[in-house]
């Protein structure tokens, strides 16, 4: 059994944005049920003890927590490389200075589109785009490294060259061009988000050309949509292999979408140590390694490369979390995925309503 390398700390599900591709669960955890500051501090120490080297402070919007500075300090005190994954709309110079003093190592800022009108339609928040630009400037002025995360899909892929220009103009050293992954709320909006094959091919060419053009100045990471792939993604680098997440409720998860798999029970950090969850829980052992696999995964030459793809996607599409991910060309359920690609083309988004 490997030790985990990274912890995703989902501090809250609260967020001022309403992105239709949100990967948080359809059922959100309320603020009153969120873990307390001291509980997160203990979780960070436990994560470092079992081998985690970095923590992603995420959500929802992590800066919606009043104690985000204390949480950041606790993560750094535990010895973790500390990465803030933020929409940026709640950041100001004072908060960035306090986060930096607390030891924050890196900021990843999301952007929804290349222009304010498109970005604010997608994110569902008026004024968000200008606030993000201001946040990027403040982060850079503080001397913190910045990654821009552009989530791309059917309705903004035509602006990809301009999103790359924004990454350069805003001073990001890295750009993640992340095609939407279809979990949680994103699955409910799949018809409006799934790109065409032609869009995907054009985007891939754009990214390759930009990597060449901006070598040494901008690193571009590219997350492709597996609906158009022949091989599934190596989801989480294998279930219970490199990564764990803690949800706002305290549930300890092999991936942030794992709660979407009906019938699984997950240990809670309020009662269970991260070590016990990682090593001994049924949830983490269920799909660890290759022993759980059936054909065509069992014995497949790709089994230890892609680990059968994504368990959450297998469950969402086939109703069976132990099935081969239909993103694999060898999956007997491949037709489900091809049908989704054929049917995509809606334009209206379904937005979450917060209760």
């Amino acid at each position: 059994m490997n030790a985990p390398l990274a912890l995703l700390a989902e501090l809250t599900h609260r967020c001022p944005l309403r992105c239709p591709y949100c990967s948080n669960p359809v059922e959100l955890t309320r603020a009153s049920e969120e873990l307390a500051t001291e509980e997160w501090a203990r979780i960070f120490r436990e994560a470092a003890e079992i081998g985690c080297l970095q923590v992603h402070l995420s959500g929802g919007e992590p800066t919606a927590r009043r104690d985000i500075v204390e949480i950041t300090a606790a993560a750094r005190a535990a010895g973790l490389y500390t990465n803030l994954i933020t929409a940026g709309v709640l950041l100001d110079a004072a908060l960035i200075a306090r986060l930096q003093a607390a030891g924050l190592d890196h900021v990843q800022l999301s952007v929804q589109d290349a222009d304010a009108a498109g970005a604010e339609r997608i994110g569902g928040m008026r004024g968000a785009h200008a606030r993000k630009e201001a946040a990027a400037r403040l982060v850079r002025e503080a001397g913190l490294p910045l990654t821009l995360n552009a989530v791309v899909h059917r309705q903004n892929l035509h602006n990809l060259p301009r999103l790359i220009d924004i990454a350069l103009a805003w001073g990001a050293a890295r750009l993640e061009v992340a095609h939407v992954q279809y979990y949680g709320w994103a699955l409910a909006n799949r018809d409006a988000l799934l790109p065409t094959r032609a869009q995907l091919d054009e985007a891939t060419q754009t990214v390759q050309a930009a990597r060449e053009a901006h070598r040494g100045r901008l690193v571009i990471d590219y997350v492709v949509p597996d609906y158009h792939a022949a091989r599934p993604k190596s989801c989480m680098g294998g279930w219970g292999n490199r990564f764990l997440a803690v949800a706002p409720s305290g549930r300890i998860l092999p991936c942030h979408a794992a709660e979407s798999i009906a019938g699984m029970e997950f240990p809670n950090a309020r009662e269970t140590s991260l070590r016990a969850a990682w090593e001994d829980s049924d949830a983490f052992n269920r799909f660890r390694g290759t022993g759980w696999m059936r054909e065509p995964c069992r014995g497949c030459e790709h089994a230890e490369r892609d680990w059968g793809g994504c368990r959450c996607q297998a469950f969402a599409l086939t109703g069976d979390a132990a099935a081969t991910d239909p993103a694999c060309a060898l999956s007997p359920d491949r037709a489900l995925l091809l049908a989704a690609v054929a049917e995509a083309g809606a334009t209206a988004f379904r937005y979450r309503e917060f209760g």
Partner: protein, 85 residues
Amino acid sequence: MTPRFAPGVRLHHDVARARWVVMAPERMFVPDETALEVLRMVDGARDLDAIIDGLAEKFDAPREVIAGDVRGLLDDLVARGALVT
């Protein structure tokens, strides 16, 4: 020339795996033994000459030999984005 770690990059002792790692935004790498010796001398105050002197003394090796190794490694670490000069 005074090398220092690039913003967001630091050397970290990975206790669980008994090794040192270079942590950087959204990535990490494990330096080999020689690179690690150089990185441990990088404190933003020592310049290239001081780093070479320090390592020549530590390993009781001819300065010219150490100098060549250090220059090559620094170039590589700058190219990888771990250090800036």
